[in-house]
Amino acid sequence: MSFFRKKSLFILLIGIILLVVLVGYSLTSRDKLSAPEKFLMDSVGWMQNLIHQPVTFFVDTFHSFDDIKNTYNENKILREKLAEYKTLIYEVQEMEKENEELRKTLDIVDSPRDFEPVLANVISRSPERWLEQITINRGTKHGVRKNMAVMTVDGMIGKVTSESNLTSTVQLITGFDQLNRISAKISREDSDNIFGLIEGYDKEKEALIFRIIEQSDKDLKEDELVVSSNMGGLFPDGLPIGTIKEINPDQYGLTKIAYVEPAANMYEINQVIVVNRALETTDNIEEDEEE
């Protein structure tokens, strides 16, 4: 019996050592997943794809019963909006044309606002809710790379943290921490944009923490739209992130912290768009030079 005790203690110790080594290995800032991990992600992703489709079909039909109830009211509102859009479309077209012409005269081809979209389906959501990760069914094969921004139609939801051949993992902005900041801004007329960083998510207030690094003369207002900025060098310019819900001075009283309510729903995500900055970042240019 004492031999058995010793043996299990020994195994426990080996287990703890293995745990420390593996956790240490996976938390070091590595650029790419190891080959076996990629293989596992791909094979599980394939299965998830297979099972997810009938499940979403089932869930969607269930939801559509609910939707039918609201159809009449929604239809009314949508019609009003449609009338507004018709005039808007004309204006936008004119502006786009003008913009293109102006760009040509200035010899600028890519703007930081341009991006190349990759459409993807969400195939699973991590059951470990602390980590706020989802898996999408597009990977390196489809042009998805690490650190690309991911958005839904409503707004930005996160960024790609790791990718395998056929799937990739997306960290939602609600799970961001100090190390994963997004540079963001509030767009103003007269080039008085207010810049800042989204630093994390406040679980009690259910809002993103937006720290303003540059003080503008004008004060912030509630309900203003916060969009991504290309200053961070990762994301394209102008992806909507959310609207301001509450404004507080920070603990030293030097700057302000705004609480931003995410524009996209983080819990019902089915289709996402992975966006790649069309403009080459400095990283890309360096890589190209090395090649």
Binding site: V20, S26, P127
Partner: protein, 175 residues
């Protein structure tokens, strides 16, 4: 054939865990309450209780493999579930020698093991720095709902699988 059935069931449960949150109503998932499906663990607990004899450790071995798989696929932090699941299953293995194996005992053992697993996860994740959470908040918003939801899952699985597991056990390990 019967050797393949366990990895197959466990793999299926693993994949389903990723979809589980879609099936819950959004009012539940968007609130502060965190419900974590531990379906793989629950099946392994049943395996440890009804399939393994006192000398075999199949559930623990599967616990290592599928714990690692959960780490790779769902968390990206390797080793956490891979350590927590076998550790819990070893406790189950000891408990089952002392207790009778019926439904109420299985429920108690499951409550204990999810409790142990969640505490281990909290411990490891907070050491690593992934979560910062107060203990009270953890107990109310994560531990209790998770245990309740998983017990709800346990009961149908128990009714469906125990007889089969015992049959396979006497066929494959009884000799």
């Amino acid at each position: 054939m019967k050797r393949i059935i366990f990895p197959f069931i466990l793999f299926f449960l693993l994949v389903c865990e990723g979809i589980a949150l879609d099936l819950l109503p959004s009012s539940l998932t968007s609130s502060e309450i965190l419900i974590i499906p531990h379906w793989v663990l629950i099946f392994l607990i049943l395996m440890a209780m009804f399939y393994d004899t006192n000398e075999t450790f199949y559930a623990i071995i599967y616990g290592v493999i599928f714990g690692l798989l959960i780490d790779v696929v769902y968390t990206g932090v390797l080793g956490v579930y891979m350590f927590a699941y076998p550790f819990t299953l070893y406790i189950v293995h000891i408990l089952k020698r002392l207790l009778q194996t019926n439904l109420s005992m299985t429920i108690i053992i499951t409550i204990v093991s999810i409790f142990v697993t969640e505490l281990l996860l909290l411990l490891i994740f907070s050491i690593v720095g992934v979560v910062e959470i107060s203990k009270a908040h953890f107990f109310v918003h994560r531990l209790l709902p998770t245990i309740l939801a998983n017990i709800l899952f346990l009961i149908p699985i128990y009714l469906l699988s125990t007889k089969k597991l015992m049959k396979w056990s006497s066929e494959q390990l009884g000799k």
